[in-house]
Symmetry: D2
Subunit: 109 residues, 4 copies
């Protein structure tokens, strides 16, 4: 079944969703919030698509490949933005995003 | 701004989400529900991605093109399934899906 | 059917989702973004619950009353925050939120 | 921070979302799908609100209590329906739902 076949990716998507939502929350609390606007924006994009794909995979979506391809792109973009910032939440988020992008690309290819 | 630029598509996505969710609900009430399982499944896939894209466009997502491409494929698949069934809710849903697929393709290309 | 019974509220939820997502996007582009962080945060909360309730009503959810009660509270809170800011997108968003809160309360009671 | 404070509930919500989406998928594949329509419907309601609350908690929502209260009710209803069916996926889903309802009620109270 789909949810077993994709168990590793579902876990990774879950961790990436968490990391992005936490980074979003933490960025909004930073003093230098003006510098973090692109990070805030991409964190939400990334959390939303990861959560969407997680649900889709666990219900056996017939569109796993197509959704994973888009998700990989969004994770990559979010990771690249987060990587620029020294905040611990940004660095951890970048790591979660790049891991998730890699696993999504494997499914998409 | 993004939400004005995409006002027509946002409206179409909203109508497609509604049609799919209504068709999903109505299929689950049909006597021949066994025949409707693929329709139920695709209605949910389609409602969820249309609602997702609608929100993404209205918040100025940088991934409009990529998301519209996936959305077009899912709308097309849902429309093709709904078209097979004579129920009024299926025929109306097919129409909403094909219209939405067309508009998504325009954005994606 | 549920989606006809709740047609007016579904439309209002859709408009509130749009207004909140647009306000979120616009707040992130403002020079005084530091002043807008609570607005950004509540815009997302409100857009997400309104979009959720819109989908739930259109699929005939058995939990319309309970969800509408929560949605009313979130719309109210978002409206109160937006009302504080002079930006046109905030004032328009406050108006959409208060209208939506009112209609949700009617369903919830 | 919110995502640490609620780490256990976030994990439980994630597991409940998975169980509900898997049960939904499996119900649609059953021969006796006509008997499973209420289960299919509630699985989706429950997966969607659990996924919503999971995201909300991980972004530090100010509405944790109110959302957890609604989520507890929906988990309870889904668990009660799943419990009626002997399918392994239904029994496992019921268990996940009741556990999640309990934890949500703790947060709500």
């Amino acid at each position: 079944m789909s949810h077993e076949q994709h168990a590793d990716l579902i876990k990774t998507l879950h961790e990436c969703t968490e990391a992005c939502n936490h980074c979003y929350d933490a960025c909004l609390r930073e003093d230098d919030v003006k510098m973090m606007t692109e990070c805030i924006r991409l964190d939400r994009e990334c959390a939303d698509i990861c959560s969407f794909l997680e649900q889709a995979l666990s219900r056996g979506t017939p569109f796993a490949t197509e959704l994973a391809e888009v998700c990989a792109k969004i994770c990559e973009a979010c990771g690249n933005e987060c990587k620029k910032h020294d905040h611990d939440h940004c660095q951890k988020c970048a790591e979660a995003c790049f891991k998730c992008a890699d696993e999504c690309r494997k499914l998409a290819s």
